[in-house]
């Protein structure tokens, strides 16, 4: 089995441990990830706030390159939820609107690219839960994680607005994967509540309150697992400041899902880049 792989900009920078652990996990699973040649930024939440055409054309560029790499490799796998949504939106909107597709292709044509709509865009969590599944993981699990209670955090953009692989209000796709490691699942109501996304940079006082509510909801759990670099940095980057404003200790380990699954699969901690996380992961060393 092979996937086309779109890491996205965060995974080359502040979220490099998400890239490293995803690759390590798929290596053990025996699944090849073929990086899209010369992919470029998906536009994040910036393009859609500046120009409608740019917000479709930017991700469409990487989709068109992916199509040019042939049909022998399957779907496009995307670990970042914002990249996933932007690529998916470009694919879905150009499929619905031939005029938009023509305009996008007008932008792409001078580079020798043409979008045809042949590729499916899949989130990492979708692939892990549907293509591999808890049963597929179970045979690779060597270390029980039974002493941990884990809070699955889904965030927004892998679930909404496109309802693809899970319930957008009450998702459960991470639970069988966590249970397969022997760990328990923390039941909570904050799993789909927004972390503030880029408001953390523009209006930090607003976003830090949003994160405080999420961290408070996870009290009792040993860790939160995430599937998005924006959620991850918002949940772990400001815990000291948030604890001081909330007048209580809200520090909590935050891991990317492939890091947590990788630990259960016996992958070396360095190969999962646990030392790169901003939250204190000493409970996992």
């Amino acid at each position: 089995m092979k996937y086309l792989y779109y890491p996205g900009c965060s995974l080359e920078g502040t979220a490099m441990e998400y890239d490293i652990s995803t690759r390590a996990l798929f290596d053990v699973l025996g699944i090849e990830l073929v990086e899209i040649d010369g992919w470029t930024c998906c536009g994040a939440s910036a393009a859609e706030a500046q120009s409608e055409l740019l917000s479709i054309a930017l991700p469409a560029r990487s989709l068109a390159i992916a199509e040019s790499m042939g049909t022998s490799i399957g779907d496009i796998l995307v670990p970042c939820s914002a990249c996933y949504l932007n690529l998916r939106r470009a694919a879905e909107e150009t499929r619905k609107d031939p005029d938009l597709l023509a305009r996008v292709n007008q932008v792409l044509e001078p580079e020798g690219l043409k979008l045809q709509g042949q590729k499916r865009v899949r989130h990492l969590l979708d692939v892990l839960s549907n293509d591999i599944g808890a049963m597929g993981l179970a045979e690779h699990i060597h270390t029980t994680m039974a002493r941990y209670l884990v809070a699955p955090y889904y965030g927004c953009q892998c679930l909404r607005p496109y309802v693809v692989f899970d319930d957008p209000e009450a998702p459960t796709s991470m639970e069988p994967l966590i249970l397969a490691t022997g760990a328990g699942v923390h039941g909570w109501h904050m799993a789909t509540k927004c972390c503030g996304a880029s408001l953390m940079n523009i209006k930090p006082e607003v976003a830090q309150k949003m994160v405080a509510a999420i961290l408070s909801g996870a009290r009792g759990a040993d860790a939160i697992v995430t599937v998005c670099p924006m959620c991850q940095v918002n949940l772990e980057g400001y815990q000291g400041r948030i604890s001081r404003s909330a007048h209580r200790d809200l520090h909590l380990p935050i891991l990317y899902l492939p890091q947590f699954l990788g630990l259960a699969m016996g992958i070396d901690r360095r190969a999962l880049s646990l030392e790169m996380n901003l939250s204190n992961l000493s409970a996992f060393f």
Partner: protein, 191 residues
Amino acid sequence: MLSATGSPTVYPEEKAEDLLGPLQEKLCACIQCGTCTASCRNAHLMDFTPRRLWRLVLMGQTEEIFHSKTFALCSACYYCTLRCPRGLPLTDAMNLLKQLGAKKDVAGYRPNARFYGSFLDSVRRHGRINEVEFMRRYFILMKNPAIPIKFTPLGIRLLRKKKISMLPNKRKPEYPLDQFFQRVEKLENQQ
């Protein structure tokens, strides 16, 4: 277009229908039920709730809309879009207001517009975001030393983890998109 006090002026050269027309088309089936407001994590911070904002859009109340903080507080969680009983693309509507707010250089939206503008400048130059360059550009545009000071603790931790670097990374591949952006701009202006 701004008055000396930095607040947006009325746009006499543009009728509200011309400015808000595409948005009014998207929202004309709104029944004012308020599901969007009830679903919004940030509604309590907004001067106009999302429901009231949609009504203002349909009434063509340009002044009130661009004076309000509402669309600058949208974090694109898509709950309103998911739950709208009329199936209206409400997050996209917020994005359209963000685009207009940036184009009109509306005072209340300026920090957001500068943040996203700095981001896209970096993408235009390199094809992929250079996080240090982008934040540095944002700090310069904001001309407020308190902003970079707030980011310093996180910046130091990211530097220590070698996740960001103050030096340009010569080994990183570059995919300049200046001509790509120019083609998008040209096509958009033709409309």
